[in-house]
Amino acid sequence: MRRLSFLKATVFGATAFGAEPSALPPAMLADGNAVAAYGVPSPFEADVVRRPSGLLSPALTPLGDLTGTITPSGLCFTRNHAGVPQIDPHAHRLLVHGLVRRPLTFTVADLLRFPAVTRTHFLECAGNGAPGWQQLGATVQFSHGLASNCEWTGAALRDVLEEAGANANATWVLAEGADGDLYERSIPLAAALDGALIVYAQNGERLRPEQGYPLRLLLPGLEGSANVKWLRRLHVTDAPAYSRNETASYARLNRDGTRTIFDLTMDVKSVVTTPSAGQRLAGRGAYEIRGLAWSGHGRIAAVDVTLDDGATWQPAALHDPVLPKAFTRFSMPLRFDGSELRVASRARDDAGRVQPTAAEFAALRGLDATYHVNAIQTWRVAADGAVSLGS
């Protein structure tokens, strides 16, 4: 009894230090809530959501509200072509056939028996950064939010194909999903064997339905739409199918009017997430510039930051871990003195590829490019600290 009152006095200090009991915050004056069986964010974080949401429309990740490099599963960007199917994992099957010696059918439980591989990789929609998104909202969520980064666990696609015994003349895999339009893409076998996974888990738990539950392809560094969700069939072939979603859709427009298909690797890219459009610096003083960089070709080697629209650049600090084909967090101290800033980042990967300026990108790809856009993004910080889209 005596010990309890002692604890009370120590913890609350109310009597001991003479503070008014009424100064205690409301949360301390009521019983706490019961623990939810599956936890969700605080109601005070209700603005940190994907936007927009709807049956078919893509939903973008709120990159400006997130820290570190792992995107929470419920905030991963999503794009689908016929809505999100609700699939019973016990009824789901994966068929592997074509140029193989043993056509095989796998259950989800079968795939869990393969050696489990866990790796962290980004996924980016081919249309991330297309000019149209910024008309929906002037924030980094709309300019760059068709990209997310998760820890993925699954069976190596190589192991699964070896189980079926792919023939020597196999060069392509046609991957098909179990959604309402039997979405299909042709994947070059060499790319498919370069670290590809048949994934059943993300961030430590089974895939979310929007991310392909119960099975999806994960092709590190390749455009999101090739990472077929709700995977149900792999057709090993010696040629692509040239199906609708790799020709009429997702063909990359070039400056000369030609359209490139099967160039699937996402280029080196970065963006400053703080400060970014829609945010506001609260006044003069110390802040930190923070951002994300990634490349479908490999690791990020360096990120430079400019405060003066590219006149001068300084190296940012890269935060561990710097993983291949994954988000890398960078930062640089900022002392805001009320002078207007034009803030941008420029990434370089370990293959030596450097992120182009908007003008360099337009010279290469023209002004109508909507796929594989990786130009440098500039934010304007006004004298009052308000941040908006820059040049």
Binding site: A82, G83, L95, V96, H97, R101, R102, P103, L104, T105, F106, D110, L111, R113, F114, R158, D159, L161, E162, E163, A164, G165, A166, N167, A168, A170, L174, E176, G180, D181, L182, Y183, E184, L189, L193, R232, R233, H235, T237, A239, P240, A241, Y242, S243, R244, T247, A248, A251, N254, G257, T258, R259, T260, I261, F262, D263, L264
Partner: protein, 161 residues
């Protein structure tokens, strides 16, 4: 090639004693159930640009107009967008493939092979690739040259086959 080598290396390591020039006959882990030809046939709906996978049957553009009005117009009112197919689809075979696998979305696919040929013919008529009296089947569909194909390049910059 690389796959096969890895498979052989795995098999050798597992003591299966495969000769270096022979294909491995046994699955490395023994996971999965053998799929029969019927299992594969029931699921494989792929149609590739050379016509591989096209079924028997045929259909005309005039039949396609009737089917389009009954099955497609509810969402594709007036057939807007069909004209663009002329330039944005490099292969006519992918029209058949896409209609059969995806249309109408999110429900049972009611269209018989002949109806899919007919719809493909109608769409190619509306996109000024085919004539009024056109009829398509597994032989004539892959032979169609799409006007937009010349603008497409593969990842290496080469024109499409």
């Amino acid at each position: 090639m690389r796959l096969r080598l890895v498979a052989m290396a795995l098999a050798a390591a597992a003591g299966l004693g495969a000769a270096p020039t022979q294909a491995v006959q046994t699955a490395p882990l023994g996971i999965g159930r053998t799929a029969s030809a019927a299992d594969v046939a029931a699921w494989d709906v792929d149609v590739t640009r050379d016509g591989t996978g096209l079924p028997a049957g045929s259909g005309t553009a005039s039949d396609g107009a009737r089917i389009f009005a009954a099955q497609c117009a509810r969402c594709h009112a007036g057939g807007s967008g069909l004209a663009r197919i002329r330039t944005s689809w490099p292969y006519a075979t992918s029209l058949f493939d896409y209609i059969r696998r995806a249309m109408p979305p999110n429900r049972a696919k009611p269209l018989a092979a002949g109806e899919v040929y007919a719809l493909t013919a109608y769409i190619l008529l509306k996109s000024r690739v085919l004539q009024e009296n056109a009829s398509l089947d597994a032989r004539t569909l892959p032979a169609i040259a799409m006007p937009g194909k010349a603008a497409f390049r593969d990842a290496g910059g080469a024109p499409l086959p």
